[in-house]
Symmetry: C2
Subunit: 405 residues, 2 copies
Amino acid sequence: MGLIVQKYGGTSVADVERIRIVARRVAKTFDQGNDVVVILSAMAGTTDNLIGLAREVTDSPEKRELDVLLATGEQTTVALLSMTLKAMNYPAVSLLGFQAEIVTDPNFGYARIVKIGANRVRELIDKRNIVVIAGFQGWDAEGNITTLGRGGSDTSAVAIAHALKADVCEIYTDVDGIYTADPNICKKARKLDKISFDEMLEMSSLGAKVLQIRSVEFAKKYNVPVHVRSSFYEKEGTMVVNEDSSMESPVVSGVTCNKDEARITLKKVPDQPGISAKLFSPIAEAGIHVDMIIQNTRSGGQTDLTFTVPKTDFKAALEISSKVAQEINAEEVLSAENIAKISVTGVGMKSHSGVAAKMFAALADENINIRLISTSEIRISCVIEEKYTELAVRVLHSAFELDKK
Amino acid sequence: MGLIVQKYGGTSVADVERIRIVARRVAKTFDQGNDVVVILSAMAGTTDNLIGLAREVTDSPEKRELDVLLATGEQTTVALLSMTLKAMNYPAVSLLGFQAEIVTDPNFGYARIVKIGANRVRELIDKRNIVVIAGFQGWDAEGNITTLGRGGSDTSAVAIAHALKADVCEIYTDVDGIYTADPNICKKARKLDKISFDEMLEMSSLGAKVLQIRSVEFAKKYNVPVHVRSSFYEKEGTMVVNEDSSMESPVVSGVTCNKDEARITLKKVPDQPGISAKLFSPIAEAGIHVDMIIQNTRSGGQTDLTFTVPKTDFKAALEISSKVAQEINAEEVLSAENIAKISVTGVGMKSHSGVAAKMFAALADENINIRLISTSEIRISCVIEEKYTELAVRVLHSAFELDKK
């Protein structure tokens, strides 16, 4: 018995029938004597439909108004779930972001949570209500509606769990936990019982789209235990927790891949101070998120500068790069869209050497050419040709024996 | 130049293309130097769709949660209109009911406006913004979302116009004004330039569905000039104003009809005190709205009791009536669904006699049998067989020479 925060994603509340399934699970948890706070996303597809509607109006809808529009998605699902619970004779009350006192900065479309009052939530819990809160949304200090960006409901859930000092934040999704690799790619992929926040952070940012990265940052910062599990099955999922002595700390926990990026290279750039800023300032101003940046020193006072950007921003980034290349007298601009980033992640890496060597060797054995390399303390990423993605995932999964516990 | 409140109904904002037309009209009014506050309904059909969704969950959705769900309708249109205006480079800001400080009682689904703060609205107007407010919705003292009931956006508009001391409250709709009769029934129907609040009140309650009756009550109480006009044409519509000396005060202003009611009669009810209460208390408890009540004294200590209810509540009312009839020893219960109420309305009636006689004679000339009669100071209503509805409207329109100004 305790206070349990449950977050259900878009596929779990995609229609009235699925909402009924969610209601039954919530009711069961409540019947076990727990206090339950539920955070919901919009129905799967709704957010995209609403963005489509806004695009009918204009290519670049005003961000404040877009948030007002998008916030209707979660408003719909919290009302429907509360109705369902009420019809089942459970004491449910829905709250929108502003009613749950989720205060954010005024950065429309990608707002950050500043404070959670949650007085009313606590009051309702104390009276043994099931509180159903709209995820993804809040309001700023001036009372404008804001949204937290794609996947923001995860962050809502973790932040609310923290504010309420919940015992656990359960994230219900359409997968049943975190795997050593994408099971669709690698049949030997194994579900992890536990994973550390740091590993999850690296994996989230690398394309394992189970949790929004900011929710993991938040959970790590405030040490909120997160349980990722399936809304379709009863069995336990994966606990995301602080790294501690009781964890196995495998050298490598998982292999992830990301095909959403493209590569741009400026050849023979004069190796002078300020050159990088000349390139990356206009790119940042265009709102383009740069992922990897790699620069090799070359002889003759020249260097090659390579970076990757989301495929959706590729054209814009290439245009800016070509313009800058002329200004700074770079020899030429090369680019490739058919790339993939393969990464191995694991907190155990910190204390083990040879992980990189093993990774490169495994890829070399299959004649997979490595184009770019970047590393963090607990991750090594290689950019390869896109067509080798699945092969690389499987090869690395075996090389690091991830199928064995 | 002044402060103009414009309210657009569901058909005026039914899709992005129509919202664009509304935006152009708003922009034009703004360009003429006026301050403009816009009140919107949900897109036509949205409210019904949302109710349908709730009914998928349960036959009797929790009212608080239904209001949360329904409120998404206007939230969508205000966001879209504001985006459209912004894309046209007009300074538009959307506000939801709670943001516009529309405080209501906690009577979910049929809440009444208690107070309008409108501080933020005024601030925004002072900075020359076009303020786009979600109609139909507010919040109660505890911060719960409420809705005002069908057609509630009219009431929102009038209440906001009053709170802001607006020069006029323009109600844009799919008809171009108030007519002496329904033009679909009576080809000779003539648009009125002016009509008094009292006449409009009687007509609203009698089935001329142009304005929600509560909005007219509100406008009358606070003397808010209302201009009913078409959102598709430029021409002037009908002004609804306080009766004053400058008005023509015709004997009869219009003929209306209503086919939405059904009749129930309890025959030979013992003529004793408390009998009516025994019947109408359980009917009121069942939430059934009774319109006409007529009781004729009969000889022998017995009377007939007749009343009308909305057709949608007919079955429930009949069931209650049959039960009560047994308890009070009434002889039998008669009922009819195929009835219509025909009314003539006009402030001039107060000072003219003979209106009733003329009405009865005109109907008699066509052999239309009058089943029930009820009157107010400025209205006479007759219940007739439904099949004679259109004939009766045309006959009365001619009898009172409504086609002539």
